[in-house]
Symmetry: C2
Subunit: 338 residues, 2 copies
C-alpha cells in the first residue's frame, strides 16, 4: 500500500489529527509504526465502541502495530468502584475481543495490554510524580473535564487521570494515540507535558462521537440511548425503532452509526447496504456508499422506518457472536454491573 | 520507666496530641511502640531541626522504636528540583545523622528510612490511587497548605503530597507520627483518609515551631532568620546578636530555642544553663529550669545581651561536630544548594 493510500485510510472518518504533517512524515519513515487506543474500564460497552474497533482495523491495514489498552486503573480513577474493577475488567476483555472477532479483522498485529500490568511499575510512578510537579491542578482538571465524571467537588483521582494517560503513550512505546474527539483536551495535555519530562510528543488521531439513539451522546449510563452488546434481537429492533430519526433530518444517531460503522464494514466486505422494501413501496434500495443514503434520506426518498429496519438487521448480524456465548456473558455482565 | 513517666516524656514541650487518650492506651498496651518523623528533602537544615531531634530522643527514652523518614519524594513534590534531589538527599542524610551524634543520643532503636525505598512500590502507588478516589482536590490542597509551597496556581504534586504522607504512616508500620504543628492539617487528613482504604488511623504528636531569629518562623529560605548547621563561631555570634530580642518581652526566637532545645539538653545532661556575667554586673547566673530564665528575663534581671552571649556559646558547642568535617560538608552543601 502506498503512502497516500495509508494516509487516506487513517484519515477516513476522523475529525482531527494533531498533526497531519507529522502523521505523513511518520508513514514515510516507518513501515510499521504503532498506535494505541485506551478504553477505561467503567461503563458497560455498547455498539458505539464499534467505531474505534473499525478505525483500529484501518490502522492495522495501514501497517500499524495496534495496542488496545484495557485501562483498569483509569476506570478506577474515573469512579469505577474498586470492589468491581476486576469483574468489569473480565467483562471488558471478553467482549472487546469478541468485537474484533465479529468484524473478521486480521488481528495478527493487535495486542491487548492491561493498564495495571505496567502502570504500577516504579519508573512509571516516578514519572507520575515528575509530571505532577510541572502540571497545575487547573490544567489537569481542564484536560480531564470531557472524559472524567468530575462533579462539583472533584476527587484527586480525576486530576491524576490525564497525567497517566499522557505517560501511557511513552510506556506503551507508541507513535500515535487514537481516540474519540472527547479525548482532545487530554491529547493536547499529553503533547504539552511529555516533553517537560524529556519524552517526545505523540501524534493524536480523533474520530467523532456517535450521537445516542435518544439524546446527544451514546452513553453507557443511559440504557435507551444505546444498544448493548448483549441485547437480544427483539430489544435491538425495539430500541432502533424508538430512536430519534426525523424524516429528512440527517442529524441522528442511526445515520451516524450507519456512516461510521455499517458502511465502513460493508465497504470492507465488498457488499452493498440493502434496505428491504415491499414492491408496492418501490422495492429494495441498494447503497454502495454512505453519501447516497444521506442524499435519499434528505430528499425523503428513504423513509426512517425502512432505514431503521435495515439498520436493525445489520446490528443484529454484528451482534450474533455475542448470542453464541450469551449465558456466560450475561453472568459476567451481571457480576460487573449489578 | 512507668507509664505515667513515659506519657509525660512524650508530652513534654508538645502543643497537641491527637489523641492523648489513644497515646496513653498505646503505652499501656505496648512496651515498644513505634513512631516516625518525616523530613522532606527541601530547604537547607538549620538549628531549628534540633527540636525534633530532641523530641525523638524523648520517644527513644520512652521505649519507642523511632524511624526518621528522609522524604526525598516529598522534597520533589514540594518544589525541590529533580536535578538536585539526590545531592540534597546526600546532604540531609549526612547532617541529620550528625545532629543525633552531637546530642549523644542512644540510637540503638533509631532507623533512617529513605522515602523512595518504599514509596515507589507497586502496592504503595495502588494505594495512592485508591486514596485519590476518596479525597477531594479541595481537601488535599487544604491539608497541604501550611507545609507545601503552593502559590497561586498549585501544581498537582502539592495535592499528592498529603496522600503520600498519610500512606507513609501505614507503610512505615508505625503507631505514631510526630511533627511540627505546621503538619496539623496533614495529620488530620491522614486520620480521616487512612480508614477509607482500610487502614487504622494513627496517633499524631506535635511540637511548636520555633520563631525565627528575625521574623515569625525559622525558615530555611531566609538566611538571617536562622543559624545554619555549618555557620562558623563568629557567624553564630553575629546572627544571635542581631536577633530580635527586646528586654522584658519573652516572645522571641532566642528564648524559644532555649526552652525547646538547650534546656532539654541541659536537663538530659544534668547540667545548669549558665549565663556568664562580669562580677560588676552581678556575676554568673545559673538556671536549672527554663521557667526561671523566663521569669528573670521578664523582670529584666537578665539582660538580652547576656542571654544572647550564653545562647551563642551553647549553640557553638552543639555545632562543634559539624566543624570537624567542615570542608566535606561545605562541599556537599554547595552541590545541593548553589
Amino acid at each position: 500500500m502506498d503512502i497516500k493510500k495509508r494516509v487516506e485510510l487513517i484519515k477516513r472518518n476522523t475529525v482531527e489529527i494533531i498533526t497531519e504533517q507529522e502523521l505523513e512524515k511518520l508513514l514515510k519513515e516507518k513501515k510499521n509504526p504503532s498506535v494505541y487506543l485506551g478504553t477505561a474500564i467503567t461503563g458497560r460497552p455498547h455498539i458505539g465502541y464499534y467505531i474505534w474497533v473499525l478505525k483500529l482495523a484501518d490502522f492495522l491495514k495501514a501497517g500499524f502495530k495496534v495496542k488496545v489498552l484495557l485501562a483498569d486503573m483509569h476506570g478506577a480513577l474515573d469512579n469505577c468502584p474498586w470492589e468491581v474493577l476486576d469483574k468489569r475488567y473480565k467483562y471488558y476483555s471478553k467482549v472487546i475481543k469478541l468485537m474484533f472477532e465479529s468484524m473478521k479483522i486480521d488481528i495478527k498485529n493487535l495486542e491487548f495490554v492491561t493498564g495495571s500490568s505496567f502502570e504500577l511499575d516504579r519508573d512509571y510512578f516516578l514519572d507520575v510524580m515528575k509530571m505532577s510537579t510541572y502540571a497545575s491542578i487547573h490544567d489537569c482538571i481542564k484536560a480531564a473535564s470531557e472524559v472524567v465524571k468530575l462533579g462539583d467537588n472533584p476527587r484527586l483521582s480525576g486530576a491524576i487521570y490525564p497525567i497517566m494517560q499522557a505517560l501511557d503513550e511513552e510506556y506503551l512505546d507508541v507513535d500515535v494515540q487514537y481516540g474519540g474527539i472527547d479525548q482532545r483536551k487530554i491529547f493536547v495535555f499529553a503533547r504539552e507535558n511529555l516533553p517537560k519530562i524529556g519524552y517526545k510528543p505523540r501524534i493524536e488521531v480523533m474520530t467523532p462521537l456517535i450521537p445516542g439513539l435518544i439524546g446527544k451522546k451514546m452513553s453507557a449510563s443511559d440504557e435507551k440511548s444505546k444498544v448493548d452488546l448483549l441485547d437480544d434481537e427483539e430489544t435491538v429492533k425495539k430500541k432502533i425503532n424508538s430512536a430519534e430519526c426525523v424524516s429528512g433530518d440527517i442529524d441522528n444517531g442511526i445515520l451516524a452509526f450507519l456512516k461510521n460503522v455499517i458502511m465502513v464494514l460493508k465497504e470492507e466486505q465488498g457488499e452493498d447496504f440493502i434496505v428491504e422494501r415491499p414492491g408496492k413501496y418501490g422495492g429494495n434500495l441498494e447503497y454502495s456508499d454512505y453519501e447516497e443514503v444521506e442524499e435519499d434520506f434528505k430528499e425523503k426518498t428513504l423513509h426512517p422506518l425502512d432505514l431503521k429496519n435495515a439498520v436493525s438487521q445489520e446490528i443484529n448480524a454484528m451482534l450474533s457472536i455475542f448470542r453464541k456465548n450469551r449465558a456466560e456473558l450475561l453472568k459476567l455482565a451481571k457480576e460487573a454491573y449489578s
